[in-house]
Homo-oligomer: 321 residues x 2
């Protein structure tokens, strides 16, 4: 089979478009369709299918429902996170709670979580217990990560170590879980399953750190979002926390000033550059990409599969949007 | 074994108190403990244990995790419903979103739904697929019921048929599911499992209609809540919808007036009495109780078990709180 991003993401798009919904309360499912059709990278379901294909001779579509389960879960977390963050825009469109109100957003999100469980079980056969254990454990970790992220907003003493722990929970475990679900469906042994999980986890760390970097140092023409949003929102990213450690007086003073957003961004960026924080953040992302690739050596797979996962790992810390 | 409400509910209380929670983000789990410790009738987990015990020779505690799963799910729906209803008080204490804020309420609720899935899988062995199918299907129906309930708020033409359909989804399916989970754990055949589900469903209908009746005609000294809350909130119960059909002019006129709450309650109650709606509501509840008992005849069980389920069915439409 053709081991490309396009092969897998096309499978995902077709399957998502073909999902059927209960007809009893259509008002509950319009927001689910809306959320799923608004795109995104489909990285998580692609990881399920790729991991499955790397470790099995069967068609990748054998694991399509588990791939959809992960995508459904991911979109559920975005939907509820947007309610919690009072976010107005997601992927260029009004968020669900802006469009349908908060109650529908909460309830449709709940339905998405249960639909994710239903998809996980579909075609799982006797692997359901193992799939569920990984999926539910990961879901709990994602909530814990979100809870810590919210708690960090009210704290000024968050350390880099705590930050990395938090993004590990909020972001990386789900990418690890995606890889493991594919491995479980392929009937892989626990060594291969663990290695693929660790690959996905490290990939997630690289991905999130590159996210932090892009938000400040990305190319506005390619990034697709306003540059500097994290700074304006005082979001505790790797960059901001590192700058707080390096400039415990000056950075809070800048943030406390009543400046134009563009002026705040410029002044904070100057601090970042003074301490080479952009470069150091990027170096850390690259280190996680390398770590991810290292885990691939522990798994027996075709050269095309290996090249594909290595490409994803490199992309995680090199992408421009 | 001793087939009493107390036997089963004691097992549930002890198991709930013994639940352990992740330690990473304690802020996420304090609301879960708070919600679970605030009591309630524990009817749903009792149904799981009783149904299991009626159909199996093993200790009821064999199905304790599935009982806790249903109770966790039920409390999750109450938590999120309270956010959606902006309710301030639940079981005499501040609601979670009043105590910890809305974001924590949403996220803790999400965690409860996943914890319910985890509990469902615990000790399920090769019955997990069947348990999950029933549990997830029921969960979707409960959301659909809640969605319809919210949509009914903005409509003046809700029929009794639609109302019964809605409470079937919002309330009754979960009691049916509780009975079925016990039957599945006991390895019952599908005829017994279906009969127990139908018993639970009819029990739920009796329970909800008695709820509607109690809110208007209950004894204030025993009911434990203010009488007339549904009327003051214009809640579309069986009584209000029936009265709207009988008095399409007078009832809306009363509700539109700017009266003291007690005066509104008195005037609406007068309409209810004029058309014997209290009696008719109660008759319907009794009919569902009888229907529930009828399903018991289709299941082979001990005389104690049968008496217990019959007692619950009678209680559903005779309880005073």
């Amino acid at each position: 089979m053709d081991f490309t991003l396009n092969t897998f993401s096309s499978l995902v798009e077709v399957a998502l478009a073909g999902l059927s919904y209960p007809t009893v309360a259509p008002g509950l499912f319009a927001p689910v369709r809306y959320t799923l059709e608004s795109g995104g990278k489909r990285l998580r379901p692609v990881l399920v299918l790729a991991s499955y294909s790397a470790l099995s001779k069967a068609e990748p579509s054998t694991a399509i429902n588990q791939a959809l389960a992960i995508e459904m879960f991911h979109n559920f977390t975005l939907l509820h996170d947007d309610v919690m963050d009072r976010a107005d825009i997601r992927r260029g469109r009004p968020t669900v709670h802006r469009k349908w109100g908060e109650n529908v957003a909460i309830l449709s999100g709940d339905a998405m979580l249960t639909m994710a469980s239903q998809l996980l079980a579909k075609g799982a056969g006797d692997r359901l217990a193992e799939l569920s254990e990984c999926f539910n454990k990961t879901a709990m970790e994602v909530y814990e990560g979100q809870q810590l992220d919210m708690e960090f907003e009210d704290r000024d003493d968050v350390s880099i170590k705590e930050y990395l722990f938090m993004i590990g929970l909020k972001t990386s475990v789900l990418l690890g879980c995606a890889c493991r679900l594919g491995a479980i469906m392929a009937g892989a042994d626990s060594a291969a399953s663990d290695a693929m999980y660790n690959y996905g986890f490290a990939l997630g760390m690289a991905f999130q750190l590159r996210d932090d970097w892009l938000d400040t140092f990305g190319d506005p023409a390619i990034f697709g979002k306003e540059i500097g949003g994290d700074i304006v929102n005082h979001k505790k990213t790797w960059l901001l926390i590192s700058a707080l450690e390096a400039e415990p007086e000056e950075l809070p003073a800048i943030l406390a000033e009543d400046l134009e957003p563009q002026e705040t961004i410029e002044q904070v960026k100057t601090l970042y550059v003074r301490h080479s924080l952009g470069d150091r953040c990027q170096e850390l992302a690259l280190r996680y990409s390398a770590e991810a690739k290292g885990y691939l050596d522990k798994v027996d797979m075709d050269v095309e599969a290996r090249a594909f996962f290595a490409y994803l790992a490199d992309q995680a810390s090199a992408r421009k949007h």
